[in-house]
Symmetry: C2
Subunit: 374 residues, 2 copies
Amino acid sequence: MPGETQGRLTIQDIARLAGVSKATVSRVLNRNPSVDPLLAERVTKVVQEHNFVPNITATVLAGGRTQLIGVLAPPLNWPAMPEIMRGVAEYLEGSPYEIVLYCIGSQRNHADVLNRILAMRMISGLLAIFPGGLASQLATHFQQGLPLVMIDDQEEPDGMPWVGIDNPTSAYEATRHLLACGHTRIAHIQGPTNYHCTLERYQGYCRALREAGIEPDPDLLLQGNFEQSGGRHCASVLFARDRERWPSAIFIGNDEMAYGFLEVAQELGVRIPEDIAVVGFDDYVISAHTTPPLTTVRQPFSNIGRTAIELLLTMIDRMNEKQPPKDGRQTAGGVPTQDFVVDPPCIQLATTLVQRASSRLVLPAARNQPGSNL
Amino acid sequence: MPGETQGRLTIQDIARLAGVSKATVSRVLNRNPSVDPLLAERVTKVVQEHNFVPNITATVLAGGRTQLIGVLAPPLNWPAMPEIMRGVAEYLEGSPYEIVLYCIGSQRNHADVLNRILAMRMISGLLAIFPGGLASQLATHFQQGLPLVMIDDQEEPDGMPWVGIDNPTSAYEATRHLLACGHTRIAHIQGPTNYHCTLERYQGYCRALREAGIEPDPDLLLQGNFEQSGGRHCASVLFARDRERWPSAIFIGNDEMAYGFLEVAQELGVRIPEDIAVVGFDDYVISAHTTPPLTTVRQPFSNIGRTAIELLLTMIDRMNEKQPPKDGRQTAGGVPTQDFVVDPPCIQLATTLVQRASSRLVLPAARNQPGSNL
DNA sequence: TTGTATGCGTTATCAA
DNA sequence: TTGATAACGCATACAA
């Protein structure tokens, strides 16, 4: 049975067992075409029989390539993370690569973590997810030759490969949906203005309104924080106004704030969507379970993860092709992934508007038919 | 500014810059007390100035210790995973260790992945989360000296350190709660019977009933699958019976199945908790948002993760103390973590019953007071 | 096509 | 207390 498991063996042992030199074993392991097919087969057989796996540290030290992808991530209980990581992990399962996960919470100095990661020289590439203030540092590393892809919605993608969504269009579609439901007084709760996506979503919202001949009303623009508390606060402010100043619909910058908004509405007895229709943004898992279920823009999180990692692996491969392996690590001022550096790809994935009860078109006559689907 | 970042430097460079030998630098880095304090300070200064971080691969190869903890995990979008990983990551943030994450989905051969992980000899310890069929293999590795902790609810903890909850007691409390609400016909939907936790929860349920003088009714025991579909199925079966054969309450083996159950109840117009009170198990995030919100047993997932990783680090430390470093990696038949091997600790954390609307005690007179909190 | 020899960056042994 | 040096396991330039 090939269940030896103990990786005690070295390439030397395999060489002895197969009656060849270490160099040949190494060549076989690295699929070097210069080795005789029959010999290769013999060696391969020994390798498999003994379940041999090269010592990765020795491999790297000797100038080989790691099969390790670094993932710099926020805490995994951020609502978008599980799905993103699912996409990443599923794609990686079909490859020889493994994940080295660096979760950065609040405690430690993020820049230090990043430096440690890179200085350890253990990873072949880095996937940076919502890196916050690290963006510019990351860009520098990328320019210096580190294969890197960023998933982010805070900084404007600039100077490095990026995967995300088309925020303006997504927000445009969300607002169009409310317009199509017959609403004309549509409010908006935006996120923190230092988030690039906040501005983009606001742009999309404005464009939809203007196309419908409606000038965005500053009175209907509320400032949130992308957290539930912000949604609650804005709801309180809004519902404290005279009823005639209420909007008939609201597009909320993210689902988290929408949850807070719905809570307050329920507490105050404001009916959703009869009194005010609500559309969110993100489609986190809870959104299908709120009361009422939330109409929202679905971000394709797992696909974002998949796409990002796919791009990263492509970059790594490209780099390996161009650079003679041994130099790959010595790349002083070298610029691997040349073309990527010159024009870093920005991949925007499509979102989907998921229509649920919070924005159902309510015809006056239909109010007593809870079962109606429109 | 100490923002050099580029880890090009080697210990040799630092040695030259500090005017000492590599050996001394190495000693300083490893806090070897035999080095002169003043000299140490001088070296430390150079290290910091240049932001030097040792090449981890060289360190390991030379017999040093890795600061890498392997985490063998199911897909991160499994509902319990984000919280478990939060606990793990938060604890690790305060340590010098990093996570190497191995997500095992359906695609690849799990045993192979495990072998590769260990053969790479890169990790100092392994945290195995819901390892499924790998339990026995893991036990073997643990017996052979691998610091290892398992978080699991499928296999009976045996032969290796384990962190989880007290299922019988938790189920007992859940059932007691329903009894306290005045119910006497209490059904149970159990999970797959090849899960150890399924049997344990059933035991707790039975004990509570018997203590109340009620003999568990086989007619009220339904077979689920721990998935939503199972909850739906059981609900359909139950509600298809004559009304007088319905239970007045049900304890469902996990929240996932409870979601399916609630869905069917809503579709059929069965009132929760008036017609039937529901208690689940797990307290996933959605449970607070179902209609009605679900009473359930909260598993302290993040604490489970924290506790497990804490135990693992303790084991690693213990091993490092006992074994002269250089041998640590050569440990042929050696048995590090001796005491742990002899009697692997099983840590059971307490659960909490979270009371929500799905099991509210409904007094006949209170039916028209939706706001009542009991 | 294959084998020999060297070096990767660190730790640890042995002398000094 | 410090320095020189031999591993560690692998990849590769070079020689055969």
